[in-house]
Structure formats: structure tokens, C-alpha cells
Symmetry: C2
Amino acid sequence: MSGILYIVGTGPGSPEQMTPEAVQAVEAASEFFGYGPYLDRLALRADQRRIASDNREELDRAQAALTRAATGEKVCVVSGGDPGVFAMAAAVCEAIDKGPEAWREIEIVVTPGVTAMLAVAARSGAPLGHDFCAISLSDNLKPWDIITRRLRLVAEAGLVIALYNPISKARPWQLGEAFSLLRDILPATTPVIFGRAAGRPDENIRVMPLETADAAVADMATCVIIGSPETRVIARPGRADLVYTPRFIAGDKR
Amino acid sequence: MSGILYIVGTGPGSPEQMTPEAVQAVEAASEFFGYGPYLDRLALRADQRRIASDNREELDRAQAALTRAATGEKVCVVSGGDPGVFAMAAAVCEAIDKGPEAWREIEIVVTPGVTAMLAVAARSGAPLGHDFCAISLSDNLKPWDIITRRLRLVAEAGLVIALYNPISKARPWQLGEAFSLLRDILPATTPVIFGRAAGRPDENIRVMPLETADAAVADMATCVIIGSPETRVIARPGRADLVYTPRFIAGDKR
């Protein structure tokens, strides 16, 4: 008998940014697998079991959750933000791909959520108003030369760039090097947004030009958005600047 | 006296995918500006005023909403999905940028939402599990040669590609041409997801290889996700295939 595996996203952290669909999946499940701080965001009942694990043990966690779902349990795997963006949905799919045939029979329900770049964008204007990309800066996930090649190509393409996993204790220099290589391609005035804890009480959004963007402003919980050559900043009296990327690019064909 | 301008996203369409924060903004506002079908998603009270306009009149709509907010009204501009992704938040910022100084004093509150690509990704597995981009295929917004250049660069970069505004009556051939140019860069087996009305009762998700991907499958309400060379498809007995992009890319440095 097969159970069901929910993969939910809590959104950026505020309960007000978590969808009713995700809340209902949490109410329906009996066992919860996730990184501790994400599980802490849920108000679980006494009859709901909580299995917290370290942030880096994603494949192990996915396998543990699938093992329980295969016995008929209603299991919930919890991600921050959206579970499909650099998060647990891919880890669960990978575990199914490599795992026993029986795991392919388990019902999988992914509930989407507000991913970090959307929350940061909302708090700073509309920097993702036109073509953009999301790139993980973690060289635990892919070789650094692939990351730098991707950054160069998307900057040359004129896309706004959202960087996930920009920095950590074990990866202190990568964000600075990313800024450095982007300075060779993008205008010095290109706005860079450092968005931390968007939508939460400890929110901190800072905007600075690429020329002086300082990697030390970011930490693990920061999403960094680097504008395109079209991205503009609107100064406002007594209010935070608005950063936006226009919907149109002028040219021969409109 | 300045009012407040909320810019909300309804999510993909199901009320279960709209955040409580967006619902609260709708409850707080007295006048609503938006494309009719998006306004139809809201259960407005008798005392709330509805001003529907055509989908293509975004700047006019933004200006009308700002004009009302500047008189002290609580105004709400409504987008489907996330208002910051190819939607009204950028139109409002543009109107402020070009508009009277007084508009810079208006409080702007953007509530993020689940954008179409996240909803489609959730229903098909985890195709956005690693680096990806979102590109509007509308050549009403930018010249076609910029679009084709961007598509080539992001495909060469190895990013998963989510296409917004893939096709319309006035733009019938662009999606087919996009598939054609991507076939020169990406493997023939690259999975292509056509996601229509994800999360709604009339949902339709189809997956086919790039080699045979048929633009006629898409319509205006479709979000098309084209995998990267790493994206994989898992066949499952009696269930829809799962499409996912692995979290890791192997290489010299892991």
C-alpha cells in the first residue's frame, strides 16, 4: 500500500505568505521531514511527528520520507520558499529516479510557494519585471567554471540575475568574484539588491550600484538580485527607492 | 493627502494558491484596477469599486490607479500570478518614474504571489530544480532579434527556460521558431512542458521531447518550460511522468 508524499513550500517565512493549499497539505500529513528552522515555521499538532535534519542532507531526507510514504503514511517534506526552486522537490525526484520501483507508485503532491526572489522583488519595486534568471552560486552543486560561464552568458543576454546561495562560511569569496566578473560586462550603475528575510520582522533590503556592491553585505539568508542594463532606480522623498525593470525594450520591431 | 496602492498577485487562479497577505490587501482596498478575468477571481464586497480594463492597457491602468491613490484612496491593482513577473508592478513603477512628483509620495505595497512557472513546475515534478530563466516571448515588448539572441545564450548556458506569453492570435509563429532555434543547441530529447491553467479545474499539463514539440499545443494561458541538457523524465506506472532537473552537475569541483 502506498501513502502520499506532500512537498510543500512555506514561502519566505511569514505565515501570511504561505498559501492555503500548503497549509492544507500540512494539516493532512502525519510525518514531517525538513531542515529544523523550516519545520519551526509550522504549528504542528501533538499527533504530528517531526523529523528534523541538517540543511545539507537533502537526498537522505528525501529517501527517508519516501521510505515512510511507501508504507502508507501521509508524509510531508518541507522547504522554505518554493519547494521546486533549489529545494526538496528535485531531491525527492532524484531519490525516486535512483530508488526502488515501488517509490514510483507513491502519489507525489508538490504545492508551490513564493520563492525568495519574488519576495525580495516585491519589497523593492519590480526588478523582475522583464526577462530574468535564477542561478545558485553554490559550487557545492556545480563546478565554479560552469557558474562563471553562466553568469557571463546571462549578463551578455541582458537578463536580470537572481543569485541563490550567494555566500556561506565555507564559500566566502564566490559572491565577490561574481560581482567582479559582472563589472566587466554590466554598467557600473547597475542596481544590486541585497534582500534578507523579505516579509519577515527582521527584513533588510539594501540597494547599491554594482560598482560598489560589497559581498560582505550578504549572508546565507540573502537573495541577491542584479539588475540588467535596463533596470532603473526611482528616488522617493521619505520612502525607499523603487527598483524596476521596464516591460519594454525599444527597437526596430515593437 | 496620499493614499495607498496595493499591487497584488492572485496566483495561478485557484483561491487555494493566493496568499493570505494578498487576500488582506484586497479586503483593505476600496477600488480595484485590473484585467477583467483577474478581477473576476476576487470576491469583492458591494462597497468595493471595480474598474476592469483590457489586458494590453497596462500603463493607462497604472496611471489611473495612481491618480486615485494620490487623492487618498486605498487602491488595488490586480495581476494574475505574481505582480512582479511580466505584470503590473513594473507598469506602476514606470508610471511613477514618468509621472508627477506627487506620485512618488504614494505608499506602494506589492504582495508577491505564485507565478505561472512555479505552478506548472509543481504539477510536473521539479523542472526548475536548478538554474533557470524566465523569458517573455512577446515581440510586442522587445524586438524579435533580442529574443532569439537571449534564447541562444541561455540555452548555451545550460539553463532551464520558462517561456511566458508564448503565443497569441497576433503572434502565431514565434513559439515554433523558438523551438526551431533551440533544436540546434539542445538535445532532441530535452523535455518540453506545456502547462495550462496549472492548479485550476481545467488544468492541462503535457510533456513532449523538444524534437517533436508542437507550438500548436500552447495558447495564451500556457507557460512553456524547456528543460536543460540535465533535465530528466521519470516514467511511473499509472501516474504522470515526473520531470526534474537535478540539483548537482558533476565536475572537477564538487
